[in-house]
C-alpha cells in the first residue's frame, strides 16, 4: 500500500517541481553566458566587479527560491493533502495513517535532495566552467590522491556524511509534520498554532540539549580537557574519530526523527478531526 501511495505523492511532486528544476537549470545556463565568464574581461573595473556580483546574486536568488518552494511543498503537501479537503480522499483509503505520513515524508525528502543536487549543478553551470572544472579537479585530488588516509576510509566517511545529511533532512521535515499534527488539535487557528508548536518544539529541543551539556559538565568531574584527554587516550585514528562524531549526529537526529513520526502518527490515528 505504501508503494501505491508513493506513486501518487511522487507524481504530484514531479508535476510541481519538474518545471521549477528545469527553470533553475535553464536560468543558470542562460546567466552563464549573459553574465558569466564571457564578460569578465571587461576593461572597466566597476563593470567587471558588478558582472561578478550579479551572477552570484542570481545564483543566491535561485537557491533561496528553490529552498522556499521546497519548504512550501513540504508544508502544503502534508497540510492540504491530509488535513484539508484532499484528506477526505486520503483518510478514507484503506491504509494506515503511518503509511500516509511515510509516503508524504519520503516524497518530501526526495524533493529536498533533488533540489539540493539541482542547486549544486546550477552553481556549476552559472560560474565559469573553466574555474568549476579546476575546482572539481583540485577537490578530487585533495580528497583522494593526496589524502593521508586510505581511499576506502574516505568513501566510508563520505557515505556516513551523506547519511547524516539525509537523516537530518528527514528530521527537519518530520518536525514540521509533528507541529502541523499538534496544531490540528486546536479548534481554531490551526495553521497559526502549528507555527507556534514548531517554535515550541525547537525551543524544547535546544533546552534539552543545553541541559544535557550542563548536566555533563556541571558535575565538575568532566571538563572539556578531561574529555579530550580521554579521547586521546583511546588513541583513535582520524577516520575513527570523524566516523564516531558522524554517528553521534546521526543518532541525535534519528531519535528526533522517530519521536516526531510517533507524535504525528499517534495524533492522526487517534485524534483526527476533519471538520
Amino acid at each position: 500500500m505504501l508503494s501505491k501511495l508513493l506513486k501518487y505523492d511522487l507524481s504530484s511532486m514531479l508535476k510541481s517541481f519538474l518545471l521549477i528544476w528545469g527553470a533553475a537549470l535553464v536560468l543558470a545556463f542562460v546567466n552563464h553566458f549573459t553574465l558569466g565568464g564571457l564578460h569578465f574581461e571587461s576593461s572597466s573595473f566597476m563593470v567587471s566587479s558588478l558582472l561578478k556580483v550579479v551572477p552570484f546574486l542570481m545564483f543566491l536568488a535561485i537557491m533561496v527560491s528553490m529552498a522556499v518552494l521546497t519548504l512550501i511543498f513540504v508544508i502544503q503537501r502534508f497540510y492540504n493533502g491530509l488535513l484539508k479537503d484532499e484528506g477526505y480522499l486520503m483518510f478514507t483509503l484503506p491504509v494506515k495513517p503511518w503509511q500516509l505520513i511515510t509516503s508524504k515524508g519520503i516524497s518530501a525528502v526526495l524533493v529536498n535532495i533533488i533540489s539540493g543536487i539541482i542547486a549544486i549543478v546550477a552553481i556549476m553551470i552559472l560560474f565559469p566552467w573553466k574555474d568549476v572544472g579546476e575546482f572539481i579537479r583540485e577537490f578530487w585530488n585533495g580528497l583522494f590522491l593526496n589524502a593521508p588516509i586510505p581511499v576506502w576510509q574516505i568513501v566510508v566517511l563520505i557515505l556516513e556524511f551523506l547519511f547524516m545529511v539525509l537523516v537530518n533532512v528527514a528530521k527537519s521535515i518530520y518536525q514540521i509534520y509533528a507541529a502541523i499534527a499538534l496544531g490540528h488539535q486546536f479548534k481554531k487557528h490551526r495553521v497559526g498554532m502549528a507555527f507556534v508548536m514548531y517554535l515550541l518544539i525547537s525551543l524544547a529541543l535546544s533546552t534539552i540539549a543545553s541541559s544535557i551539556l550542563q548536566l555533563i559538565f556541571s558535575s565538575g568531574s568532566i571538563t572539556l580537557d578531561t574529555l579530550l584527554d580521554t579521547f586521546s587516550r583511546w588513541n583513535w585514528s582520524f577516520f575513527g574519530s570523524v566516523s564516531f562524531g558522524l554517528w553521534i549526529l546521526i543518532l541525535i537526529a534519528g531519535v528526533q526523527l522517530v519521536a516526531f513520526h510517533i507524535i504525528a502518527e499517534r495524533l492522526l490515528s487517534k485524534r483526527l478531526n476533519l471538520e
Binding site: K4, K15, D85, L89, T92, L93, P94, L274
Partner: protein
C-alpha cells in the same frame, strides 16, 4: 460477513461547544437504503464522518462491518463527502487509477463507461471541470464500487431537479444489492420513494428509526409529511402588531 453493517454504542460527539451527538445507539443491517434525515446542524454529517473514520467519537463506540473505523472498514465503505476532495493536479484518469489501486471492489470498466456517458474525458484535468461535473465525477467513483456500505452525504443538495433525478438514478442503478446505502438529506420528498428505512436526527439524538412502510401504515402519512410535522418551526412573528 457481519450482519450488522453499522453499530453505534453510546456514541457521543462534542466539538467543544456542546454535544452534536449524544449517547447514540443504533444498529443497521445490510441490503437496505436508509434515509438519514434531519434539519441542518443536527449531526448528520458528523455521524457519517465518524462512520467514514474522518472524525473520532468523543465517547462510545462505532463498528462498521464489525470493525472499528480503520483500513478494514474503509475497504468496504464507499463515501461521498459533501465537498470536493480532488487535488488540482489530478486528471480524471488519475482518480480512476487511484480507486483501482486501493479498492479491490472498484469496477474500472463501469466507471469508465459512466464517465463516457457524462462526457468526461479521462485526460481532462479536474481543475478545468465545472462544479457540477466534478460532483458527478465523485459520484461515479463512489458508485462504481461494490461496497458493503455507501455513505452519501447530501448527494442532492444544491443541485437542480434534473440533476437530482440523475443522481438518484445513478445511485439506484449502481449500488451493490447486498450493500447498505445511508443517504443524508433534508430533501425528503425527492428520495422518499426509494427508502426502506428512515432515521430522524433531532437535538443530538435519534428520535425515530423505522421502516418507511411502518411509518405509512401506523402514522397514515408520508415520511415527508411526518418530517415536516416533527421539525415544524414557527415563523418568527413580530414587528407588525402595531399595524393590527
Amino acid at each position: 460477513m457481519n450482519e450488522n453493517v453499522i453499530q453505534c454504542i453510546n456514541l457521543s460527539k462534542d466539538y467543544g461547544s456542546g454535544p452534536v451527538l449524544e449517547q447514540l445507539n443504533l444498529t443497521i443491517g445490510s441490503g437496505r437504503i436508509i434515509g438519514l434525515l434531519g434539519p441542518n446542524g443536527t449531526g448528520k454529517t458528523t455521524l457519517i464522518k465518524i462512520l467514514a473514520g474522518l472524525l473520532q467519537p468523543t465517547s462510545g463506540q462505532v463498528l462498521v462491518d464489525g470493525h472499528v473505523p480503520g483500513p478494514e472498514s474503509k475497504a468496504v465503505v464507499s463515501y461521498l463527502p459533501d465537498k470536493m476532495y480532488f487535488a488540482d493536479w489530478m486528471k480524471a484518469k488519475d482518480l480512476l487509477d487511484l480507486f483501482e489501486d486501493f479498492y479491490a471492489d472498484f469496477d474500472r470498466a463501469k466507471a469508465e463507461q459512466m464517465c463516457a456517458s457524462l462526457g468526461i474525458v479521462p485526460t481532462q484535468r479536474m481543475k478545468t471541470m465545472s462544479k457540477g461535473t466534478k460532483e458527478k465525477m465523485q459520484l461515479v467513483l463512489v458508485m462504481s464500487r461494490k461496497a458493503k456500505l455507501y455513505l452519501l452525504d447530501e448527494p442532492i443538495a444544491g443541485v437542480d431537479p434534473a440533476a437530482r433525478d440523475f443522481i438518484m438514478n445513478t445511485i439506484l442503478t449502481n449500488y451493490s444489492q447486498d450493500g447498505t446505502v445511508l443517504i443524508s438529506t433534508h430533501l425528503i420528498g425527492d428520495i422518499e420513494r426509494v427508502l426502506d428505512e428512515v432515521l430522524f436526527l433531532k437535538d443530538t439524538k435519534v428520535v425515530l428509526h423505522d421502516t418507511v412502510d411502518n411509518i405509512r401504515e401506523q402514522q397514515g402519512k408520508s415520511v415527508d409529511a411526518l418530517f415536516r410535522e416533527m421539525f415544524r418551526m414557527n415563523p418568527i412573528e413580530g414587528g407588525n402588531q402595531d399595524a393590527q
